[in-house]
């Protein structure tokens, strides 16, 4: 494991699409270094030949027949949209 001191919080926050204030930046960096230092303990464990567990029990893909089912009405589906017009969600312009 890499030393946790190399945590580049700006790069991580950009990947997470999360704007941080200068105070948050400083505070989270320090706290995460603490948490990562605690996590470093996992280096002690010999994991040679151990398979990773993603789920406690095997998960299989589930196939459903391609049959139309009743779903939400347009009104219900858009009820929580921050901005809408003509049954569409309004977003800032993406392409000039």
């Amino acid at each position: 494991m890499s030393a946790p001191t190399d945590l580049n919080i700006d790069r991580i926050a950009t990947l997470a699409r999360l704007a941080l204030t200068p105070e948050e930046r400083e505070k989270f960096s320090a706290q995460l270094v603490d948490v990562l230092a605690n996590i470093e303990k996992l280096r002690e464990v010999d994991v040679t030949g151990v398979e990773p567990t993603a789920h406690a029990f095997p998960v299989y893909n589930v196939w459903a027949d391609d049959v139309a089912q009743p779903g939400l009405s347009v009104e219900d589906a858009l009820r929580n949209a921050p901005a809408q017009r003509d049954n569409m969600i309004v977003v800032p312009k993406v392409v000039e």
Binding site: L18, A19, V50, E51
Partner: protein, 487 residues
């Protein structure tokens, strides 16, 4: 049990309803009145809708008058953690991000409770997006422990535990990712059950860490937990991780499964950091099981000390991925300050999420990022395998495992401002989620300061019938859970 109607168990109330000694409307009115009387102190709810609850109660009474009553939950008011969808009601996750969100559909568990006739009652507070162990991370308000209002109720399902302890519901639902049902249950003197991963559908549960999350009930007795689990368990084609297993009659199993059982005591759960009063209370419960003829065996779960580290890698990784959906576009908070669409993501997320959620997104993004994935995430998944194997090895020798649920009774509000200190509260509950096992916390005493103490029983995968029977053998012969707080 207390004579007050709002403090009775589901089983007691079901008998009174069946005998027509009370109606659901009377019961629901009593719960609403109790809520209005104590909620200012407890602050367990984000919102509640008395008219909606009374309409459901009237429908229940009408069914019963017609001879169409649906079983023990018909007419019983059940509170719902505010991460589980209820059609037409707010669904906030105690986050500014979803402050104005209204559920367009029911979660599967909500539908199942309705089919059982339950009165769906109120939206219960939690740590924002279920991330925390004290309910102090709610963006709206901090829920109090009904046994001491200066102390936390635990979390993340603190509202669910506190409401039940305070008589503001007859049972409640919560969700448990690293202990979020069992830990608050222990701190609030109620029973909290986290079922085996995959037993209860997660459809309609706001996702935190999808490989760990599981919905379960808070109740006043183990018998009530059996009744509630019966209603919500079972395969759901809308949740691909839901398992096709036969659902037994859990309540009947409490009588038919009599033991004596082989019970394991893991030494790693009784070491440094455990409050002596908690240790003594759990030891006394173990002695009781011995007096029933159970064989008490020491077992070892050698990878226990790595549980918190594994959990905070896997849970934050999954959370960073799950919470990517909150982008200010289709639903949730949208910033009005953004200059373009990418800026809209950055600002909406910055304004909508609270500090703990941001911290976990950052940590999760870091452990998944290029160059760190193998060192953190992949290694954590491998250690998760070892933790799971520890439990399965122990189950070659014992039927269930007994531990304290929490290292200490309820702590004071603001006492764990350091995130790492808060994360370490979950040390005894996390392994169960990582291994996908069922776990139940049941009341087993009080500290000298009058604070509740819980013990955790951990069962084998999908063997809830045995786990509940073992818990019932203790709970039905002790009256800890019959004590109620002075509010």
């Amino acid at each position: 049990m207390s004579s007050e109607i709002f403090n009775k168990s589901i089983a007691e109330l079901a008998a009174l309803l069946e005998a027509k000694a009370i109606t659901s409307v009377e019961l629901t009115r009593a719960v609403i009145a109790r809520t209005q009387a104590v909620e200012e102190k407890v602050k367990a709810f984000n919102s509640y809708d008395p008219a909606d609850a009374l309409a459901q109660a009237a429908a229940s009474d009408a069914r019963r008058a017609d001879g169409q009553a649906r079983g023990p939950l018909d007419g019983i008011p059940i509170g719902i953690k505010d991460v589980i969808a209820v059609t037409g009601q707010p669904l906030t996750a105690s986050s500014k991000m979803l402050a104005n969100f209204v559920s367009p559909y029911d979660a599967t568990v909500t539908q199942k409770l309705r089919q059982a006739g339950a009165v769906i009652w109120g939206r219960l507070n939690l740590d924002e997006f279920a991330m925390g162990s004290s309910t102090e991370n709610s963006a709206f308000h901090t829920t109090r422990n009904p046994y001491d209002l200066e102390r936390v109720p635990g979390g993340s399902s603190g509202g669910s535990a506190a409401a039940l302890a305070a008589g503001e519901a007859i049972a409640t639902l919560g969700s448990d990712t690293g202990g979020s049902i069992r830990q608050p249950a222990a701190l609030c003197n109620v029973v909290g059950l986290k079922p085996t991963y995959g037993l209860v559908s997660r459809f309609g549960l706001i996702a935190f860490a999808s490989s760990l999350d599981q919905i379960g009930p808070f109740t006043r007795t183990v018998e009530d937990a059996a009744i509630a689990l019966q209603a919500i368990a079972g395969h759901d084609e809308r949740d691909s991780t839901s398992f096709k297993v036969e659902i037994p009659d859990y309540r009947a199993a409490l009588k038919t499964k009599k033991g004596p059982w082989r019970l394991g005591i893991p030494k790693e759960y009784f070491g440094e950091g455990l409050d002596p009063e908690v240790a003594a209370a759990v030891q006394k419960a173990v002695d009781y099981y011995r007096s029933l003829g159970c064989e008490i065996k020491p077992v070892s779960l050698p990878h226990t000390e790595y549980g918190v580290g594994v959990y905070y890698i896997i849970a934050t990784a999954e959370c960073s991925s799950n919470l990517a959906r909150y982008d200010g576009i289709r639903y949730g908070h949208r910033s009005t300050e953004a200059k373009d669409v990418v800026d809209l993501y950055f600002k909406s997320r910055a304004e909508g999420f609270g500090p703990e959620v941001k911290r976990r997104i950052i940590l999760g993004t870091y452990v998944l990022s290029s160059g760190y994935y193998d060192a953190y995430y992949l290694r954590a998944q491998k250690v998760r395998t070892l933790i799971r194997q520890d439990f399965l090895n122990a189950y070659k020798e014992v039927d269930a495992i007994i531990t304290p649920t929490t290292p200490t009774p309820a702590f004071k509000r603001g006492a764990k401002a350091d995130p790492l200190a808060m994360y370490l509260c979950d040390v005894y509950t996390i392994g169960v989620n990582l291994a996908g096992l069922p776990g139940i916390s049941i009341p087993c005493g009080f500290s000298s300061g009058g604070l509740p103490i819980g013990m955790q029983l951990i069962g084998q995968p999908f063997q809830e019938a045995d786990l509940l029977a073992i818990a019932h053998a203790y709970d039905s012969k002790h009256d800890w859970s019959r004590k109620t707080p002075n509010l």
